[in-house]
């Protein structure tokens, strides 16, 4: 009468639990989940794995299946997937970095220093975010190249390509806007160069520049604008366009089949049939994506933990233009173009045309075939464009076609204003005070009093001598006299003065160039 029916209770509990699970998993039962993990066929009919894509938002924007042929690794190299992976990584690490960052010129640099010296995992986070940004640019570009070479932008995929080009632009601007935020010399001057390009825009250049920088020079206004672009506007745009892009790929046309399955008549029927089989998202593609994600995470964490350090130069100084200013590498091609001609033409008009062309690719290329040998012109143009970008990027390097006076170059190479350089890499103990004169001081055994000598100092002095003598022979430094003076300046601080005197043939007077470099015992950081 009052006895409890345990069997029934257990049954009810199991059903209730099952119902909850099904709500959370958008319709999958526990048995089904287990089957998914093991890669077994569906446990119910109709296939509950497809229903997930209807009832769950996240799965709604994922494909129900791809064709087997289009999942072949060497077809996509998973480049699009990894671009997305980087984007999500940037969102997560970026959100955490925002906790510690203050977007004002007085505080920005300090907040990075604080992140590095006071926040556990702070450096790792910053490195991840920085490396992820570079990775995203690289993978976006490679992904574009892949879709171009496999001819995957044709017909129903034209619009996908179009949203892709928008995404390329957004990615570049995302990366570039983030560049300014640490407010160091690297950031400040790269962005100064970048935004000065806006000034060259015809008609409204000045206004555009002002709008970006918030003042004639980059300052508090400019930093805040870049910050807001970087953390709000551009990520929102990116999410929006990635959604469209993904939706097109996963819900409308799927990933293209490798062209041979569509166009190569000689392929055995069996192979074609197999290529057109479905590979379901649940569980196969999903498992694969999880696998790629953990692989990507692993590689990134190894790289950042052991090999990569995000650069951080001295705090931005508007009064001091660095000797070698460089745009971020993905804009070197633009810097290279600027060396070839007028700022408006090369900096604004041509890039606009280039991106216009990119947008128009699917509409210009009316050739219906996708196999490489059936579209030789398109392939040739693609390869040519890639090579051009590489060559232009090389020309964009500061070393190319910018003549620095010989003495300045020698000293700058030995002890660059930013970064380590050979001279700064000398261990502090080896910086033995003295006057070392090129061609006068015996280059060996510079520090006879030291037990193990000072090989690093000797190497730098040898390098210095060699460079000076080379320049003398080349006639660039007539009658040169060069010294390296090392003075003990304070406790744990030395002053190093490389100095070069030479006869200036033009004026007939003696000129000199020197740099005063202060080095502290603790300045050598394990990079």
């Amino acid at each position: 009468m009052f006895g409890l029916n345990f069997q029934r209770l257990r049954q009810q509990a199991r059903e209730a639990f099952e119902r909850r699970v099904r709500i959370i998993t958008a319709g999958l039962s526990i048995a089904e989940l287990r089957a998914l993990l093991r890669g077994d066929p569906p446990t119910e009919k109709p296939n509950p794995r497809y229903r997930v894509h209807v009832t769950s938002f996240l799965f709604h924007i994922r494909p129900k299946f791809y064709l087997r042929g289009s999942t072949i690794f060497t077809h996509t190299f998973r480049l699009g997937f990894f671009t997305m992976f980087f984007f999500v990584l940037e969102l997560i690490t970026g959100l955490i970095l925002m906790i510690y960052y203050t977007p004002s010129p007085a505080e920005a640099y300090n907040s990075i220093l604080n992140l590095m010296s006071n926040v556990p995992y702070g450096k790792l986070l910053r490195d991840l975010h920085r490396l992820g940004a570079e990775g995203m640019v690289i993978f976006t570009a490679l992904h574009m190249l892949r879709t171009y070479l496999t001819g995957s932008y044709k017909k129903e995929r034209s619009f996908t390509w179009l949203t892709g080009v928008v995404l390329l632009l957004i990615t570049l601007f995302l990366s570039f806007s983030g560049y300014l935020l640490p407010w160091d010399q690297l950031a400040y001057w790269a962005v100064t160069i970048g935004t000065s390009m806006a000034e060259a825009a015809p008609l409204f250049g000045k206004e555009l520049n002002l709008l970006l920088r918030g003042a004639p020079d980059i300052g508090a206004g400019g930093l805040l604008r870049f910050y807001l672009l970087h953390v709000i506007l551009l990520p929102l745009l990116a999410i929006w366009f990635i959604s469209i892009h993904y939706y097109k790929v996963s819900r409308e046309h799927g990933i293209s089949l490798p062209a041979k399955f569509e166009e190569d008549e000689s392929l055995p029927k069996e192979a074609v049939k197999r290529a057109k089989q479905r590979v379901d998202y649940l569980p196969d593609l999903f498992t694969h994506e999880l696998f790629l994600t953990s692989l990507g995470l692993f590689i990134l964490v190894v790289l950042t933990a052991f090999f990569y350090s995000a650069p951080l130069e001295h705090i931005a100084n508007p009064q001091q233009t660095p000797l070698d200013t460089k745009a971020p590498w993905y804009f070197w091609w633009l810097q290279g173009m600027l060396k070839l001609g007028d700022k408006t033409l090369m900096g604004i008009i041509l890039p606009t045309l280039i991106f216009g062309l990119l947008f128009a690719v699917p509409y210009l290329d009316r050739n219906p075939y996708r196999m490489a040998y059936r579209r030789p012109v398109a392939i040739a143009l693609g390869v040519l464009a890639t090579l051009t970008i590489v060559v232009l990027s090389y020309m964009g390097l500061p070393q190319y076609k910018i003549e620095t006076p010989a003495a300045t170059r020698i000293i700058q190479d030995l002890a660059p204003e930013e970064g380590l350089g050979e001279l700064r890499a000398i261990p502090f103990e080896q910086l033995q005070p003295g006057v070392y004169e090129v061609n006068a001081t015996e280059p060996e055994n510079l520090c006879p009093e030291m037990d193990f000598g000072c090989p690093a100092l000797e190497a730098v002095f040898a390098e210095f001598s060699e460079r000076v003598n080379e320049a003398v022979e080349a006639g660039k430094l007539p009658e040169a006299q060069a010294v390296l003076v090392i003075e003990a300046w304070q406790a744990d601080l030395v002053k190093v003065t490389p100095r070069i005197l030479w006869l200036d043939p033009e004026s007939g007077t003696r000129k000199s160039y020197e740099r005063h470099i202060f080095l502290h015992r603790d300045h050598n950081r394990n990079e």
Binding site: P120, G434, A491, L501
Partner: protein, 264 residues
């Protein structure tokens, strides 16, 4: 049991990633401390550079001060007694930052260190119309504080075993002396220094011969250095130190005069 190979490998990668994160985490304290030392070192290096550009004209190349102009910042007195002397409550570093930021309207020791007059030392912080940002002033302060060890005699610096190789010509050597003996703090020579306490010497060679009747330019310049009070240039007070006769060795004096005679 059948195991999906990708799930297996994926899990393995995740575990490995976790292990690396733990490994990194164990070293974080050490890493952060190291970065802090590095940051401090960099601050001192930057401060040294800024000091050389902005302060050496008055306080001397190595902060040893220039008699008759500005006080030393590298001696025992500064590190042990100065705070009590002026009645400063906070730390020495704060005193430096505050003094440098606002400058000093009137010298506290007008007889010994009158500075440039009024103000004795200009304001440096850009908050008060000076040229330096606050982070730069903090760097300079870190640099000045780093003199403590030598000031208190805890550390003795190695001096150069040989004098710096002599520049080829007396004029170049004279120019160096002009900086070494602090002339740069009071005198302007275009392209070399900017001091406003004494007359502009950019063209001294052209009018030195006309200052005192019957005196050659060379003799006048020599006298001006060795006995500044012998002739006062109109509009200037008798502020030039009287000590150079004792402090400048004979050969360097000749170089200095040769250098000034070249300023036509």
């Amino acid at each position: 049991m059948r195991i999906q190979i990708q799930i297996f490998l994926g899990t393995l990668f995740l575990v490995a990633t976790g292990a690396i994160l733990i490994f990194v985490g164990l070293r974080e304290d050490e890493r952060m401390a190291e970065f802090e030392r590095y940051q401090k070192a960099q601050q001192i290096e930057v401060g040294a550079e800024l000091f050389e550009i902005n302060c050496r004209g008055c306080h001397g190349l190595r902060g040893e001060g220039i008699p008759g102009l500005a006080p030393p910042l590298n001696d025992r007195h500064f590190f042990t007694e100065r705070l009590a002397e002026v009645g400063w409550q906070g730390s020495l570093e704060d005193y430096i930052i505050a003094t440098v930021s606002t400058g000093r309207q009137v010298s506290t020791r007008p007889d010994k260190y009158p500075g440039a007059g009024k103000p004795a030392m200009p304001t440096w912080s850009d908050r008060f119309g000076g040229p330096l940002r606050d982070d730069q002033i903090r760097s300079i302060a870190a640099f000045i504080m780093n003199w403590e060890a030598t000031a208190l005699g805890e550390v003795a610096l190695e001096t150069l075993p040989t004098p710096e190789t002599e520049a080829a010509d007396p004029i170049t050597r004279g120019r160096a002396a002009f900086e070494t003996y602090g002339c740069v703090g009071c005198h302007t020579i275009e392209g070399i220094s900017s001091g406003a306490v004494g007359p502009n010497l950019t063209h001294i060679a052209s009018h030195a011969g006309e200052r005192k009747a019957g005196m050659t330019a060379e003799a006048y310049i020599r006298e001006s250095i060795l006995d500044p009070a012998a002739y006062l240039v109109e509009g200037y007070d008798d502020l030039m130190p009287k000590t150079f006769a004792d402090t400048i060795p004979a050969d360097e004096l000749e170089d200095l005069i040769a250098f000034l005679l070249a300023q036509e």
